[in-house]
């Protein structure tokens, strides 16, 4: 079937197209060049409409055990947002941590077609893929978590060479079916199991004598040497701690120019100035980002309201439990592999710290110059549920709206932010970079996130509206792989996306040491640990897309 999208105003940063009127042709799921004899089977008149590729959320907690703990923990949150079955959609629940089916529908209904789970614990990756396997429409993928696993720390203590580390990282990526590697509070989750309650960048794990700085170095090096597109994805030390801005600056310097992605940087950009000993470090952080081209970030914006924080960072989540609202929380130590912590949060605009966190996130967005190196996230659900993205986009694109909201937050927080003095408003092209082209480039998706011929036809069509929140929350049309899945912000057709992975090479002899370790210390056999392709494809709707290393 040949589909023609006629006369839309196209924002396709991947091809350098910024608001030009263009026709787009779709055949067999992909965008094609205008055919010689263009007799489309179906034509959509998009004159006056805004056309972008489907949006990509490069950091969203949509699959895995901690998310399911968050769901189980919060029945009262689900009860406020029941989602009924329709003739094509399954029932479920929404709000802070939606059910899997509702996650897919609601992402698609805001024009998103791809999401990446950033914290695939190797031993829990199977669950993450099974949950993502029940998320309709979206393409998905995950970054496997390393850095607090005892195997890596033992290797570092034993001073194994970089090649051995690379083999282990590649083996883990293949076993867990990942497209990237994440490190969370490097070594800190492990240190918490030895009763350490904080771990600075240069502080040693009491058992292994290894520091976070060393862990970051070897993992970032491994990613680069293995040719994995997505740089090491780093949730740094000291999340949420006043003064952690310095840790973040030191982390940037410490990586020595290697590619590194710092995630939810808002939670790592705090100073200690002012009466409350809590201040914005956004300006210093943004300056460092602007100077260091090897660094990319996503923001992890907080927005006011009830949500739940679900993190691999058991050490920091345990410390944060005193802020739990409602007052119930979970931490877990997990399988000599990782950990997790789930703490419900209610961010309040009249709470000084929360109000300033909100401002710090926005300052970061507005002070980082290069939209190709910054990504729009709330660290769903940790800063806010992903359904708040349209509101966040309006805050970025509309200075007067932003300042109106600013005028309502805690007055002391207003005094501690430079937000009112920042005139920048994001353009549609910059939004398209952050949420499409930039994300695809960062992760290494060659045929997603763009609208030129050869790309998969993941396409979102909006009605231009000066109220950007209204515009982005209800696209006119969403196409996934060329199939029309959403009309006027409602799912009209349910499809199933693919799982994006990379398969970096490793020396098969890596399994020798691993097998001995599994047999001696772990609770499952090596052969039963590795996830096979058919586990993702056997239900008849999942598929795996392997991306090349570079």
């Amino acid at each position: 079937m040949l589909i023609k999208l006629t006369g839309g105003t196209v924002y396709d940063p991947a091809a350098g197209v910024a608001g030009q009127q263009q026709d787009i042709y779709i055949q067999d799921g992909r965008i094609i060049n205008p055919p010689a004899e263009a007799k489309p089977d179906k034509e959509y008149d998009l004159k006056g409409k805004v056309v972008m590729s489907g949006a990509i959320d490069m950091h969203t907690h949509i699959g895995g055990g901690k998310g399911n703990i968050a769901r189980t923990l919060l029945p009262e949150d689900h009860r406020a947002d029941p989602v009924a079955r329709t003739h094509i959609c399954r029932s479920g629940c929404g709000h802070a941590m939606p059910s899997t089916f509702v996650t897919g529908y609601r992402y698609a209904e805001m024009g998103y077609t791809t999401g990446f789970e950033p914290a695939l614990l190797p031993v829990n990756a199977r669950q993450a893929h099974m949950e993502m396997g029940d998320i309709p429409i979206l393409d998905k993928g995950g970054y496997v978590m390393l850095g607090s696993d005892d195997y890596l720390l033992r290797m570092l203590t034993a001073q194994k060479d970089q090649k051995a580390i690379n083999d282990y990282v590649a083996w883990t990526m293949q076993s867990a079916k990942a497209i990237g590697v994440k490190v969370v509070n490097p070594g800190g989750i492990n240190a918490f199991k030895f009763n350490q309650r904080k771990l600075d960048l240069d502080e040693q794990n009491t058992h292994y004598g290894i520091t976070p700085r060393e862990i970051l170095r070897v993992l970032a090096t491994a990613i680069k040497e293995l040719g994995v597109s997505h740089p090491l994805h780093v949730h740094g030390c000291n999340l949420g701690v006043p003064g952690n801005m310095q840790t973040t600056l030191d982390t940037i310097q410490g990586i020595g120019g290697l590619p590194m992605h710092l995630t939810h940087i808002q939670f790592h950009s705090y100073g200690t100035e002012g009466d409350f000993k809590f201040s914005s470090g956004a300006a210093q952080i943004a300056e460092a980002i602007n100077l260091n081209k090897n660094i990319t970030i996503d923001v992890g914006q907080i927005l006011f309201g009830q949500t739940v924080t679900a993190s691999g960072d058991s050490m920091r989540q345990h410390a944060n439990h005193k802020h739990a609202s409602p007052n119930k929380w979970v931490t877990m130590d997990i399988e000599c592999d990782a950990g997790c912590g789930v703490v419900p949060f209610k961010y309040k605009d009249q709470n000084f710290v929360n109000a300033l966190q909100w401002a710090i996130g926005l300052e970061t967005f507005l002070l980082v110059d290069d939209p190709w190196r910054i990504f729009l996230t709330t660290d769903h659900p940790n800063g806010a549920p992903f359904t708040s993205y349209p509101h966040l986009i309006r805050l970025l694109m509309d200075k007067s709206f932003r300042n109106d909201v600013l005028a309502t937050i805690h007055p002391e927080a207003q005094k501690m932010t430079t937000l009112a003095s920042i005139d920048r408003e994001y353009s549609l092209q910059e939004i398209a970079i952050m949420t499409r082209a930039g994300a695809a480039k960062l992760i290494g998706l060659k045929d997603r996130g763009g609208l030129s011929a050869g790309n998969w036809a993941d396409i979102t069509v909006y009605t231009d509206n000066p109220n950007r929140e209204q515009m982005f929350e209800k696209p006119d049309y969403v196409f996934k792989d060329g199939e029309l899945v959403v009309v006027d912000g409602k799912v009209v057709h349910v499809t199933w996306g693919t799982t994006h992975v990379v398969k970096p090479d490793f020396d098969p002899s890596v399994e020798k040491g691993l097998k001995e370790y599994f047999d001696r210390y772990l609770t499952m056999k090596l052969g039963n640990f590795k996830i096979s392709d058919d586990e993702i494809t056997e239900d008849g709707r999942g598929s795996i897309t392997v991306h090349p290393t570079v």
Binding site: R71, T72, L74, R79, C93, S99, N124, M130, T523, E535
Partner: protein
């Protein structure tokens, strides 16, 4: 579907004649909940024999013979198609069908929840009354828990509350305590303390002969005993000298040991806490674990659970609906109520109007007897005191087909293997067929 049954019978006959004997190693078990995955099983046609690493729980469940291959309507053999159509017909005009048992693999639960969503059913895992003790505590205040590999490598003190660990999982001690540990110089020096119930055997005795300390009390006295233990952990003054027959001095010694340990683990089986409002006892011990973590050492909880698909049911229901597996779809969207959605109550008080019983693991786990239309999707070999309207024998995950099952610690989903070619359909295939026939 008719073809499937024929194929199944043909396969069985071929295998019997051919007597194709193989041994499969590193077989994971979906039965015991502790994730044993080192069994060696000899497959001879369709009969299985556990050769290595069996136990009192796993061996009989692996070796259970296939007796039924044909679905039945009112006791008479029919094709799978006919049984599926009859099941759909029975469900078609129901107002509140209940789906009980809920014991299968991940794909089985996926199919079960899709069917429940479609026909507005109540989904109720058969062991939810026990699991509820944990869910209510979790949903009220949370917990700090751990998983089996952390127990194996770190645990220097195991405190067992009101539960018989080895009866629950015979190989628990062998696999996770009396074995090499990464962070203990001598794993046989680990301490084991039973509070409430005495162990039924000697599995908790260390290899060098150290016996567990045992402080017995009545199960129903555990709330009081736990309250005093937590108070002692928090250094609250206790005036009584004994609680439910246990000396406060002994409880004080346990509190001190917990605080002196580097990584103590408190374990309990929620289903063993058979007294009213046992969730408050789970909460008490979980809050005690948190208190210990505030006294400059580490401690974690370890709920014993996960037999025959319990964790799987709650996990899959969790991501599909947001709620554990006692959830109804009768209003078009999921509604969780840990009391009102009790399927036995709904059957007893006349609210339910049909029963679907799903149990792919254990022939002894039969449905409650009811006069309502009853559809059983069960393990081959199930026998009934009252023949259900429809019985569809299905394969067992991890024996007749591959699948996934959750271990007790809720983190590790094990990949179950297909061991033989029985031709029996999977739970997922049958439930999907019923949904499509509706």
């Amino acid at each position: 579907m008719g073809l499937l049954v024929q194929h199944c019978l043909e396969t069985i006959y071929t295998k019997l004649k051919g007597s194709l004997m193989t041994e499969i190693t590193e077989v994971p078990s979906p039965f015991c909940g502790i994730g044993t995955d080192d069994l060696t099983i000899r497959v001879d046609g369709i009969s299985l024999k556990v050769i290595e690493n069996g136990c009192a729980v796993n061996t009989p469940l692996f070796e259970q013979a296939i007796t039924d291959t044909s679905p039945r309507i009112n006791g008479s053999p029919v094709s799978l198609d006919a049984a599926v159509n009859k099941a759909a017909e029975l469900l078609k005009n129901t107002k509140l069908p209940v789906i009980g048992g809920c014991a299968s693999d991940v794909n089985g639960m996926r199919g079960l929840l899709a069917l429940a969503d479609r026909c507005g059913a109540v989904v109720d895992n058969m062991n939810f009354v026990g699991a509820r003790n944990n869910f209510l505590a979790l949903q009220d205040s949370g917990w700090m828990n751990t998983t089996l590999a952390e127990v194996k490598n770190r645990c220097d003190l195991l405190l067992v509350i009101g539960s018989d660990v080895e009866a629950f999982a015979p190989r628990f001690f062998e696999r996770y305590l009396w074995t090499e540990a990464m962070f203990l110089e001598d794993s046989s020096q680990r301490q084991v303390i039973y509070l409430g119930k005495a162990p039924s055997g000697d599995a908790s005795t260390s290899p060098n002969g150290n016996k567990a300390q045992v402080f017995e009390c009545g199960t129903a006295d555990l709330p009081e005993v736990m309250a005093v233990l937590r108070a002692l952990v928090k250094q609250q003054p206790i005036h009584a000298e004994s609680v439910a027959g246990i000396a406060v001095a002994d409880l004080k010694a346990i509190a001190d040991q917990l605080k002196a340990a580097n990584y103590s683990v408190v374990t309990w089986a929620a289903g063993a806490l058979t007294f009213n409002q046992a969730e408050l006892t789970v909460q008490m011990l979980s809050e005690m674990v948190k208190d210990i973590n505030n006294q400059n050492t580490r401690c974690s909880g370890l709920p014993l659970a996960g037999k025959e698909g319990d964790q799987t049911a709650n996990q899959v229901c969790g991501w599909t609906t947001g709620y554990p597996a006692r959830t109804r779809f009768s209003r078009g969207y999921p509604e969780y109520d840990p009391f009102l959605n009790d399927s036995r109550e709904l059957l007893a008080n006349g609210e339910a109007d049909a029963l679907v019983w799903v149990h792919a693991f254990n022939v002894a786990s039969v449905p409650p007897v009811t006069d309502l239309p009853t559809i059983v999707v069960g393990r081959s070999g199930m026998t009934f005191s009252k023949e259900p309207d429809v019985f569809i024998p299905v394969g067992t995950p991890g024996i007749d087909h591959a699948g996934h099952a959750y271990r007790m610690d809720n983190v590790v989903a094990i990949r179950l293997k297909k061991l033989r070619e029985s031709g029996l359909p999977s739970t997922a295939e049958v439930l999907k067929a019923i949904e499509q026939a509706l």
